[in-house]
């Protein structure tokens, strides 16, 4: 009995907490992907690079003497106009064509190639790691938790809730949902649909950039940092149901938890194949995603 409790306290609980913090970060990235797909029908293959962009901009800000706390606010504000311009200047150009799924996806693939190479050019290929702004740890119910992870958890959850409020409880959110539902009708009601599109894209990538700043002290910063993370986020979006808010949240938390707990028993090398197998199984059984009860047309 004591062994079981000790196992729970020293092995399982910290691992699950790790999984929870990673899960919250995955949800931030996945939410952006899901919102962008749900509204614009665009699969943003460059989403991982926007996550990296956030982290790199924060590194530049630190070297200018900006504190972590200010960077946390500034980075999304910097990434957002970049996303806005990219959407208006590039992605909106191929909307009207009938193969826009493929075309927008190809555009974002090109964008990801350019961005990754630009990071390498500007910041170099080496791994950087910002200082942990909240060192030390706290004991919670007998489990020792690094302070920064607690902070990440709190900020992440707050951001997810704020995003939910924005989309489901504000006038702006109503415009976004209306534009996703029927853009011609929405446009005829006086909503600037194209600007809403660009704004939504900007908001989605800003979320990814925000996650980049938050995770940089844990995972460090390097040009290809977006790759691994975005695959997990894509998996979460697919498992949860593309375009579903709750789906992305639940699936992100669930998958990160599965990854964290499974790594206790199997080599972490196999956690990617495991998650992928789960995704494939979900697609075979429920192609619309586990949590997408409403189902998008």
């Amino acid at each position: 009995m004591t062994e079981a409790i000790e196992y729970l306290q020293f092995v399982l609980a910290p691992q699950m907490l790790n999984g929870l913090t990673i899960g919250v970060a995955v949800v931030l990235v996945a939410l952006g992907l899901s919102i962008i797909f749900g509204l614009l029908d665009v699969v943003n293959m460059a989403h991982g690079e926007f996550y990296a962009l956030g982290a790199f901009i924060s590194m530049s800000l630190y070297s200018l003497g900006v504190s972590f706390w200010l960077a946390l606010v500034l980075v999304p504000l910097i990434v957002m106009p970049i996303g806005f311009l990219i959407e208006r200047g590039l992605i909106q150009r191929v909307y009207q064509q009938d193969q826009r799924h493929v075309l927008t996806l190809l555009l974002t693939v090109g964008l990801s190639i350019i961005m990754e190479d630009a990071f390498d050019l500007i910041y170099g290929p080496n791994t950087m790691r910002p200082e942990n702004p909240l060192p030390g740890s706290t004991e919670l119910l007998g489990v020792i938790v690094p302070n920064y992870r607690l902070f990440l958890l709190a900020v992440g959850v707050a951001t997810i809730v704020a995003t939910w409020l924005l989309i489901y409880r504000t006038r702006l959110g109503a415009m976004i949902r209306a534009a996703a539902f029927d853009k011609h009708m929405t446009a005829s009601l006086g909503v600037p649909v194209l600007r809403v599109y660009a704004g939504t894209f900007a908001f989605g990538v800003a979320l990814a950039g925000f996650a980049g700043v938050l995770l940089a002290p844990i995972y460090s910063v390097f040009p290809t940092m977006g790759h691994d993370f975005v695959l997990l986020a894509f998996t979460a979006v697919i498992v949860g149901g593309i375009g579903s808010f709750y789906g992305a949240v639940l699936a992100g938390l669930l998958l990160a938890q599965i990854q964290a707990i499974s790594s206790l028993y199997i080599s972490p090398h196999w956690s990617d194949p495991l998650l992928f197998a789960i995704m494939v199984a979900v697609l075979v059984v429920r192609p619309q995603g586990l949590f997408n009860w409403m189902g998008r047309s």
């Binding site: 190809l106 350019i114 630009a118 090398h269 192609p287």
Partner: protein, 341 residues
Amino acid sequence: MRPANPAVSAAAPARARRRLSVQHLVIAFPVLSLIFAGIGAALGETFYLRLATEALILAGLAISVDILLGYTGLLSLGQALYFGLGAYTAAFLLGQGAVGFWGALLASLALATPVALLAGLVAIRSKGVYFILITFGLAQVAAKTVYNTRELGGSDGLVGVPVLQADFGLFQVDLGSPVAFFLLMLALIMGLYVGLNYLMHTPFGRTLVAIRSNEHRVRFLGFDPWRYKLAAYVVAANVAALCGALYPMLRGFVSPELLYFKMSADAVITVILGGVGTLIGPIYGSVALVGLRTVLGSWTEHYHMIIGALFMLAVIFMPRGFAGLFDRDEGEPAQDGGERT
């Protein structure tokens, strides 16, 4: 994104004129290549001949993407999976000395077919974006698994593939000779082009094109699109695996990079730049891209940015690619009259 599409072309005279110009491209390629090989042989060149051979091998991967994207309407972002599968199978077996030239090719096809059948069963069941993301994820997972498998050389890959003699019965080709390998590869890629071009004009190929244009109507006509798509997927996988198997014979090694997203993305870039749905376009595209990469690479190591920018410009302004410039009568793709919502 409208490919040259003989099946739906209406006006017969226009078709004759158009065919003529694409045919020029088809004839020009081997002629220019033979001239290039002749000059290379006369000068005793090695580097550029081997590079050109590599371009032809990568052209095979691009053709494999084109079968799916240009003829069936399926975008695969993980075609490098089959290229890598072929390359690793060949390298592994050749390294053990277990097989010769033909054995290696056959083994990679024999492995690619069941893998593609299995992956295709899952991927094609899922439509649209899901197909793209599954092919993407599958290749990523496979690349990571190979990277972490010590038996396959891990991050170093497999080295020490011997130089082969390809036995054609009447004559032998020494793959150690750059000219001979180049000519062999040229014959193979042109053979692939002719064979696949023929296949795409059979009822099977026409059905694929019909699926790309309107899957619903194909279903109403009594065809099962699913089977045709799966067949196209398996054919494409085999083309990629075959060319992949030739890679270690040329370079003497394989590494996990062959399965990475960059390989798959490069193949898609090649197809878009060369001309989607033409089969000959990707061959030109591959030569152009390998050439561009070498030229730019000698100036800067950050040439990906330039290629990425070119690719994005092509997607926006010239979605029918280089070979599309030669299809005069389909210059204005038919619009659906507003988009569907």
